[in-house]
Symmetry: C3
C-alpha cells in the first residue's frame, strides 16, 4: 500500500469531488474486503466534457477522446471509493473494472477506449492496479455519456 | 436487520413466486457473505407487463412505465435472493445494483428508470437498502424485456 | 472438488492457452475466496471463429452459432481463471456468469445463446457449476465478437 495521494500529485492528478449520484444510490459501498463503486461518468467540475456515441465516423466521439474520458471516469471512481475508506492507501488492489462504451454499431474498439481507465489505475497503483476487465459497447449511457466505468477494489 | 416480511406488507407488496430461470442457471447463489442474484426481468404472474425499448418517441415504452418495471424487477430479485436465505431478514445491506435498460439510441434517462429499483430497495430496507449502482442502456434484453436488474447483497 | 482435468478430457475438451488480454489488464484476479475473470471472447487459436451481431435475419450470426461461441468463451474463462489457481480443482463453485451478446435490436434470445456457457459449466463442474446469471444484448463487442462471457468463481 503506497502513498496514493503523493502518487496522484506526481502524476499531476487531483482526486476530484465526488459527483452527486444521478439517483437514489451511493457512490460506493464496502462489504468485507471489497469496495464496489457505482458506475462513474467522466464528469469534470459537474459537467460531461463530451456526449454522444463513440465511433470512427464523422460527428461521433473519437476513440482517442473516449479514452481520455475513460481515464477520467476511473479517477472519479477512485474518488467514489474514497468516500467509504479512510484513505486510498487502504486499497490492496484493483480487482475488476467494467467499462461500458456507448458505441456506434460499427465500432469494435472498446478495449482501446477502456485502456484509458486501465492505464490510469496502473499509473496510480503500479502492480496493485492490474485488474480483470470487461469492456462492452452499449446503445446509450446516462446523460449521453460516451463511457461509464465501475470498479471492484480489495481493501485492507 | 428488520422484519422484511412485515415491511413488505406495510408497503402493500408481496414477495412474488420466483420466475423459472430462462436457462440452465439459478435465481441466486450465495458465496460467503455475498448473494449474487441472476438478472431479473419484471415478470408478473409469469408474464412481462410490457416489451420493447424505452424512449421518448411514440410507440416506445415510456420512462415512467419502465421505472415501474424496474421496481418490479427489484422485487423479483429479492424473491430470487430469498431462495438461498432462510429469510430476507438475513440481508445486512444491498451492496450493488446493476440495471440494464433496453434503450432507444436517443434515450439517456437510464438513471431515472433504475431509480424505480433503487427506491423500492430503500423503502424495503431503509438505510441498509442504499447501494452502489450502475445503469446502462443496452440494445435488447431477453424476451424483449425493457429492463433487467441484478443485485449483490451482503448477508449475515 | 473434482478432477477437472479428467472431466474436461472425458468431454473431449482441452483447456486452451489464455488469450492475451486486449489491453493493460489481467485474464483473472483472485480476491479472498473469489476469482473474477476478465470478459472472455470466443478465441480459438488466437482468432475469432465469427464476428458480427447475433439475430435471425440473413447475414447475421445465428443464435445456434452464437451458442457455441458462448461455450467457447466459457472454456476460455476457465483457462483465464486457471492463471491464478494452482488447479481448477480449487473451484468450489461457479457463482455468477455475465453474458453479453452483440445483438440485432430485434433479437431477444440472449438466454438461449448464453445457455451455451451455462451448459458447458454444468458439464464440467456438475452441481457446482450451477450459477446465477445475467444475459444482455449489447450494441457491439470488442473486435466484433458476437459474445463475451465473464465469470465469478468461489475457490477453496
Amino acid at each position: 500500500m503506497a502513498d496514493v495521494a503523493a502518487r496522484l500529485a506526481e502524476l499531476g492528478l487531483e482526486l476530484p469531488a465526488v459527483a452527486a449520484p444521478a439517483g437514489d444510490y451511493l457512490p460506493a459501498v464496502r462489504s468485507g474486503q471489497l469496495v464496489f463503486t457505482a458506475g462513474q461518468l467522466p464528469f469534470v467540475d459537474g459537467a460531461l466534457p463530451a456526449t454522444g456515441v463513440v465511433g470512427e465516423a464523422s460527428g461521433l466521439v473519437t476513440p482517442e477522446a473516449a479514452r481520455d474520458l475513460a481515464a477520467r471516469s476511473a479517477l472519479n471512481a477512485l474518488a467514489a471509493a474514497a468516500t467509504v475508506l479512510g484513505s486510498l492507501d487502504e486499497v490492496v488492489r484493483v480487482v475488476k473494472v467494467t467499462g461500458f462504451v456507448a458505441s456506434d454499431p460499427a465500432f469494435t474498439g472498446q478495449p482501446g477506449v477502456i485502456n484509458g481507465a486501465s492505464e490510469l489505475l496502473g499509473r496510480v497503483f503500479g502492480e496493485a492496479g492490474r485488474h480483470a476487465r470487461s469492456a462492452v459497447g452499449v446503445a446509450a449511457l446516462p446523460l449521453g455519456s460516451p463511457v461509464e466505468v465501475e470498479l471492484v477494489l480489495e481493501v485492507a
